[in-house]
């Protein structure tokens, strides 16, 4: 198969191989056996990031939030930005797998597991920040409605308990969905294992899967149900996160457009992260025939669509700020952000989220892995900026000019962000090495489907 990319894109090819089932299985299991030096090098590098994250977390626990740059009025800054950023990244996975499954988009099969793993890791990462961010993190469980002997409940008017519940639910359902999809493949790894130890370990995780028709019947039902359950969560979790801001009366936060706006932004950054991960994986493991240009193109188009949803939200925000006539809101949107001391941040964000994605109108850009990879990084950077501008920027210019203040992150803030990226990559590398990251069973089914159709 050596047809040129330009030709391939015209026909919706989602699997571009002549392998039979056994060859395909071997091929997809190969990464689990690889002893790649690159992998070890990357693992060491991201492992250093994990250590940085753990060390700075402990430092924060012991020393206090004062080690960060937060202040009054900017009581939330880096950590909450990181939280929203990671939770946003954690959106594309479930969207790709569950949403597209329900819409019967076959092309999702080869990318869904990577996207789901990304989701899980990102949501886990995200969930660390709100806890770390508490003044007294050892009492984080007070946000849970547990039956306390003092009969004290969380305050349900606050968005934070909703948040707590939404993230926990999302993580649980995403995990179950991911794991359910993984069971047949874990059984395959078990069956193909060379060593007894490997067989034992994968055997435990495969939950006794034998591939019987009954198993497959139950599997389909559960998988479909979980997909149905996960789909609204994609919408709900970031809507709830956005309410952390929208329920307040702070100019720049107090906005009814926030839920859809945040979901669009989340998908935008999530798809960008899928590209960031998928493109190198495809290249390194030579999976161009499994993850075809058709996939990449589809994801790039999704990015473009999301960027326009975001642009719509930006315009709406600006228009409403002007239209309300509210002096505080007008100041934040029309003066502080575009012209204030952090204007460079704002315009960087506009470049990254509004202008740069328009390159995707060009097919050549959509088909250039290098350009897409670079663009995906720019977008993620831009989305981080956006959250930072919303969170810290709004807080720094609120109602009383006397309390206005700027914010400057410390090395601890930066280390936690860098460390969390390390943590994310570390977990992702382990995932690549120990779990079949392309769904083998689904690919085989897809192969037969395509064959049958052909």
């Amino acid at each position: 198969m050596t047809s040129s990319p330009a030709n391939r894109i015209d026909t919706p090819i989602v699997l571009d191989t002549d392998d039979d089932d056994a060859q395909l299985t071997d091929r997809l299991l190969a990464p689990l056996r690889s002893k790649s030096k690159v992998w070890y090098a990357l693992l060491a590098l991201s492992g250093a990031g994990v250590l940085l994250f753990v060390a700075t977390s402990i430092y924060t626990f012991v020393g206090g939030i004062g080690l960060w740059g937060n202040n009054i009025p900017v009581a939330w800054a880096f950590a909450i930005t990181d939280f929203v950023w990671w939770i946003g990244i954690g959106h594309a996975g479930t969207f790709i797998s569950a949403f597209l499954l329900l819409l019967q988009q076959d092309w999702r099969a080869s990318v869904n597991r990577i996207a789901e793993a990304m989701t899980l890791i990102a949501v886990f990462n995200a969930a660390l920040f709100p806890v770390l961010h508490l003044g007294r993190p050892w009492f984080a469980y007070w946000l849970l409605p547990y039956p306390a002997t003092m009969a004290v409940w969380p305050q349900f008017k606050s968005a934070l308990p909703w948040d707590f519940a939404a993230i926990l639910t999302y993580f649980t359902v995403s995990f179950l969905f991911w794991y359910t999809g993984l069971v047949p493949d874990l059984a395959t790894v078990r069956d193909r294992a060379e060593s007894r130890g490997r067989r034992m370990i994968y055997g435990v995780f495969a939950l006794g899967w034998r591939g019987s028709a009954e198993h497959w019947q139950h599997y389909r039902i559960v998988y479909g149900l979980l997909a149905g359950l996960a789909t609204p969560l994609v919408i709900s979790v970031h809507s709830v996160v956005s309410m952390d801001f929208a329920i307040t009366q702070l100019p720049g936060w107090h906005s009814t457009i926030f839920p859809p706006y945040f979901v669009a932004g989340a998908l935008f950054s999530g798809f960008a992260m899928v590209l960031t991960l998928l493109l190198p994986v495809r290249r390194v493991f030579h999976l161009e025939e499994i993850v075809t240009d058709r996939h990449i193109d589809a994801i790039a188009k999704m990015l473009l669509a999301m960027s326009w949803m975001l642009i719509y939200s930006y315009v709406c925000e600006l228009f409403i700020a002007w239209y309300t006539g509210d002096p505080y809101e007008r100041y934040v949107f029309l003066q502080a952000r575009p012209l204030g001391p952090w204007a460079w941040l704002y315009w960087t964000m506009i470049f990254a989220n509004v202008l740069a994605p328009q390159l995707l109108w060009w097919r050549s850009v959509r088909l250039s892995p290098l350009a897409l990879f670079a663009l995906s990084l720019v977008i993620q950077f831009g989305m981080w900026m956006e959250r930072f501008i919303i969170i810290a920027g709004s807080l720094s210019r609120d109602f009383l000019p006397a309390s206005w203040a700027d914010y400057r992150p410390t090395w601890v803030d930066l280390s936690l962000l860098v460390g969390s990226i390390g943590l994310f990559l570390f977990a992702f590398l382990l995932f690549l090495r120990f779990v079949p990251f392309i769904p083998i069973a689904e690919m085989k089914g897809l192969r037969r489907e395509i064959r049958g159709a052909a």
Binding site: G66, I72, A75, R136, F139, K157, A402
Partner: protein
């Protein structure tokens, strides 16, 4: 338990600053003994007084209060100090004392922290030699027996000028016994311009006392009478009383101020004229010319030239003159302490011409030496050079740091053979001396003092000395060879000549004032003969175009004496909001001329010295003038004070102690200079109606132009159930001067930690009550408006519904309560607080401080741990204490029974607190005023703190 009889008890606090339990009990016990038994200063034996046999008037948990007097700048201010289980914890004003009238300023409020300062001198020590009081006494003291006029030659005392009858009598007694002993008085807080001005106008030095409550028109010639004057608390109250509006028909006084730097007095002005301090004399002359009829000033005619050009100064002078003439006998002209004799002479002349003497101003015999302190110190320096001083005892002050630079006094002290320093700190002077002796804080010593008007009062200790210290009077008595050496005995001895002494003693200690001791007014008749030469001398000054440099006592550290007090260091400057340091203040045009901006440095050379200091551009500062606050850049061993800010004393000389007309000033673009730790960075309101203001005329015509009617915004949330008293506060912006006494009072009452310079730079100051300061009016001549801002106790509190754990909730009596135990520290409440008055414990601020400082803490207020939010509680501990008292007496709370700490400290009574449940309470009535409004009321937060819009009273002849 040692049975030895020592001069004073061992210190209860070891050098590391920690307190052992046993020592702590002993200090408490002995403190109780002193506070309770009053008369017994001489410790009988050291023994622990267990609380099983507690003194009858002490109930654990119930505060006791004692009157005492704090002396500053030689004059006393009467105070009532709260004592908790033997520890003084909070200073309040004494309503019976003329200098306090119930209020206490920032220095009085912060002085309680100084008592527990871990950097205090603890034991008498000789550098490189033995220590102990006995060794000191044998080295320095005269003996009464040997007598003889020659005895004492070579012994010299250097003191701060004081009006204390005891100190002055001791000096007289020593002088009588040993005429050769020398005494010198020096302090940068002593100003003699007023006395010289009186000498010029009336033929002899006199001290003016004003009565601003009777003044309809007040003209300040560079006089910061509302904040920097020994009587400022009284003057601020009188000024406010003449300005307080209860109805639209009430009258208001009118304040004209000419000054160089913005002061709190200038901030209150109806008409402020920003002018170089050196040019104030010209304005004063013009004012005299414009106010008096030619007949009244006939001898002066050749000296008075009408202002040549039309300008802001001319119209200011014209309006002020018209008002002064119209308010004959009800006006007062006040000259600033730093101003030369000529300005004081003109002020005296104006007051005499306008018939104000006897109504708004009276004169008394001076209570402090009329000799300029710089002059006195020069004489001492000459004596040292002549080897006429071989034993120098410095009692307080810090002359090594504060003496005029050209005297090189530090070197001269070191040239004296034996020199001893008695004081609270190892400051620059202590480092120059061979002996360092622990002084006593006023809260642990006996003594007496006179207020500015002569009213005497006793200094009564509230606690046994923490360390092995002696008071100034005690050291004077010992070294002067007097038979009695205990301050308690000395002060009783002095006053025992009064009739019915026992009753007077008891009554005066209880009330804090010795009745009928105010100085009688003396007659003062204007005599032009003396005025002419000083005016002529003043006119000799050549016209200048150079940039003048003026020195000012810092409103937080004064001359540097309070530089080791972290509360004061962290108190934002009333105008610049600068903490932890000083800066050169200058106007925008001058900054442009020097090519600098805020944060850059100015380099100033004068008299052989040179300093480099960061600059702050202050709109409204006089152009071609730079103000340098004294009191920073200290180089003693005090850990808090050391190296904070810039020491400007190196260019302050005898010839120009207040104003340098022609220093060499250079702007230095530092680029990445040391950032200035300010608590406010934005001083305009951006067109938002936050601190509302308007003129009296507009208020009378239609108050709605200033304060539109309050509308209750619709809300989704149910109202909180209300029962019982409904607490509320009103702050009158018309009389708030921004002096910040409330800020320190709040800090002392509520165990509020300091965060240090780094913390302020990160904007993490913990003050529950802050004072927002905005510019209003035209940019070229702005007004300032100060707005105290603390938790507004919103009825629809935005902080409450966002807290995920119910840690901030509403009480039935209308308080927005903070439950520290429940707080997990999400800081969501702060984000949703439109007033940004919530504070977060970013670090463990409260527990990391030296243990001795714990003794200051208010046991009724929780000390907050790391990671929790905190904020103003409306002093809930005071509300509950009063409520319990009322409940035990089976009655309802009375209006005015609950007084918050900020309200109690406020010199102008700008703060009203009470219950809305009582429609006749003062706070209910104030809320019904047409200028009452809620800040950000349009958000629907329904705050319980309301503000009364600032009404000012400009002359109809002048545009504002």
């Amino acid at each position: 338990m040692t049975g030895s009889r020592q001069p004073l008890v061992h210190s209860a606090v070891d050098d590391a600053g920690s307190v052992t339990r046993r020592d702590f009990l002993r200090v408490i016990g002995s403190g109780v003994a002193v506070a309770g038994l009053g008369a017994c200063i001489e410790p009988p034996r050291e023994r622990i007084l267990p609380y099983t046999a507690r003194p009858p008037e002490i109930t654990p948990g119930i505060a006791t209060y004692y009157a005492t007097t704090m002396t500053l700048g030689g004059f006393g201010t009467g105070l009532v100090v709260e004592c908790r289980e033997g520890r003084p914890t909070k200073v309040e004003g004494n309503q019976h004392h003329p200098a306090s009238l119930g209020a206490a300023g920032v220095f009085e409020q912060a002085s309680v922290l100084e008592l527990y300062d871990p950097d205090r001198v603890r034991t008498p020590r000789q550098r490189g030699g033995v220590g102990g009081w006995d060794a000191f006494v044998s080295d320095f003291a005269l003996t009464p027996a040997s007598g003889g006029t020659e005895q004492g030659r070579g012994l010299h005392f250097l003191l701060e000028p004081t009006a204390s009858p005891l100190t002055l009598s001791l000096i007289d007694r020593i002088r009588a016994l040993h005429p050769a002993v020398g005494f010198t008085f020096y302090s940068p807080l002593a100003f003699t311009g007023a006395m010289e001005g009186a000498r010029a106008a009336f033929g002899r030095p006199l001290q003016p006392i004003y009565d601003l409550s009777r003044a309809a028109v007040i003209v300040s010639l560079d006089a910061d009478v509302l904040d920097a004057h020994p009587f400022c608390l009284r003057y601020a109250r009188q000024f406010a009383d003449g300005r307080r509006l209860r109805t639209r028909r009430d009258g208001m006084n009118r304040l004209y101020v000419v000054e160089s730097a913005f002061t709190t007095t200038g901030g209150m002005a109806d008409h402020r004229l920003a002018l170089r301090a050196g040019d104030v004399a010209d304005v004063a002359t013009a004012l005299l010319a414009a106010t008096a009829t030619p007949e009244e000033v006939r001898p002066l005619i050749p000296l008075l030239s009408r202002a040549q050009s039309e300008g802001p100064a001319t119209s200011w002078v014209r309006a002020a003159a018209a008002d002064l003439r119209a308010a004959r006998g009800q006006s007062v002209v006040i000259a600033g302490a730093e101003q030369p004799a000529a300005v004081h002479a003109i002020a005296n002349a104006l007051n005499a011409i306008l018939g104000s003497i006897g109504t708004t101003v009276r004169f008394i015999e001076p209570l402090l030496p009329a000799e300029a302190p710089e002059h006195a110190l020069t004489a001492l320096a000459a004596a040292i050079d002549a080897r006429a001083v071989d034993k120098l005892i410095i009692l307080g002050g810090n002359p090594s740091c504060t003496a005029p630079a050209d005297l090189r006094f530090s070197e001269r002290i070191r040239n004296v053979r034996s020199k001893a320093y008695l004081g609270l700190y190892h400051n620059e002077t202590a480092l120059d001396c061979s002996w360092v002796l622990p002084g006593l804080h006023y809260l642990e010593s006996w003594g007496d003092a006179r207020a500015c008007d002569g009213t005497a009062s006793f200094v009564q200790p509230l606690i046994r000395p923490l360390y092995d210290g002696r008071s100034v009077d005690e050291v004077l008595a010992v070294c002067g060879g007097l038979p009695t050496t205990s301050a308690h005995a000395l002060v009783r001895e002095l006053w025992s000549t009064q009739p019915d002494f026992q009753a007077l003693w008891a009554r005066s200690l209880e009330r804090g004032v010795i009745e009928n001791t105010a100085s009688p007014p003396v007659s003062a008749a204007l005599d032009w003969a003396g005025v002419l030469p000083v005016l002529a001398a003043e006119r000799q000054r050549a016209a200048r175009d150079s940039i003048e440099v003026t020195f000012r006592l810092d409103p937080k550290t004064l001359d540097g004496r309070f530089a080791n007090n972290p509360w004061l260091q962290e108190l934002p400057h009333p105008i610049t909001k600068l903490t932890w340091g000083n800066a050169a203040l200058l106007g925008p045009e001058t900054a442009k001329r020097l090519g600098i901006e805020t944060g850059d440095e100015v380099s100033i050379a004068f008299g052989g010295g040179r300093i480099s200091i960061p600059a702050i551009v202050v709109p409204g500062h006089a152009e071609s003038s730079i103000t340098l606050p004294l009191g920073y850049g200290r180089s003693g061993e005090e850990r808090v004070a050391r190296d904070v800010g810039v020491n400007v004393y190196p260019i302050r000389t005898r010839g120009a102690p207040f104003i340098i007309p022609d220093a060499v000033v250079r702007g230095v673009k530092t680029g990445s200079s040391e950032p200035l730790a300010t608590t406010q960075g934005h001083f305009t309101m951006e067109g938002r109606a936050i601190a509302r203001e308007g003129t009296l005329a507009a208020y009378r015509a239609d108050p709605r132009t200033i304060v539109p009617p309050h509308e209750i915004a619709p809300s989704l949330y149910e109202p909180v159930a209300q029962s019982g008293d409904q607490w509320a506060m009103t702050i009158d912006l018309s009389v708030c001067t921004g002096c910040s006494a409330c800020v320190i009072a709040c800090q002392a009452e509520n165990n509020i930690p300091v965060v240090g310079r780094e913390g302020v730079l990160k904007r993490r100051e913990m003050h529950w009550l802050r004072i927002d300061r905005y510019y209003t009016g035209p940019a070229e001549n702005p007004r300032v408006i100060s707005q105290p801002m603390a938790c507004q106790h919103c009825e629809k509190a935005p902080c409450e519904y966002v807290c995920p754990v119910n840690a901030t909730v509403h009480s039935p009596d209308g308080l927005n309560e903070m439950v520290y135990n429940r707080c997990v520290g999400t800081r969501f409440c702060s984000n949703n607080c439109p007033y940004k008055v919530r504070r977060f414990n970013w670090f463990d601020y409260s527990f990391g401080v030296p243990a001795v400082l714990w003794m200051q803490r208010n046991p009724d207020v929780t000390v907050r741990e790391r990671g929790v939010m905190e904020k103003c509680t409306y002093c809930v501990q005071r509300i509950r204490r009063a409520g319990i008292q009322a409940a035990t007496e089976r009655r309802a709370l009375r209006d005015g029974e609950v007084v918050t700490a900020c309200q109690q400290a406020c010199p102008t009574r700008a703060i009203t607190f009470g219950s809305l449940d009582d429609v006749d309470s003062e706070v209910s009535r104030s809320r019904r005023q047409e200028r009452s409004y809620a800040v950000l009321g349009e958000l629907g937060t329904e705050p319980r703190t309301r503000y009364l819009a600032r009404i000012f009273n400009p002359s109809p002849d002048l545009t504002v």
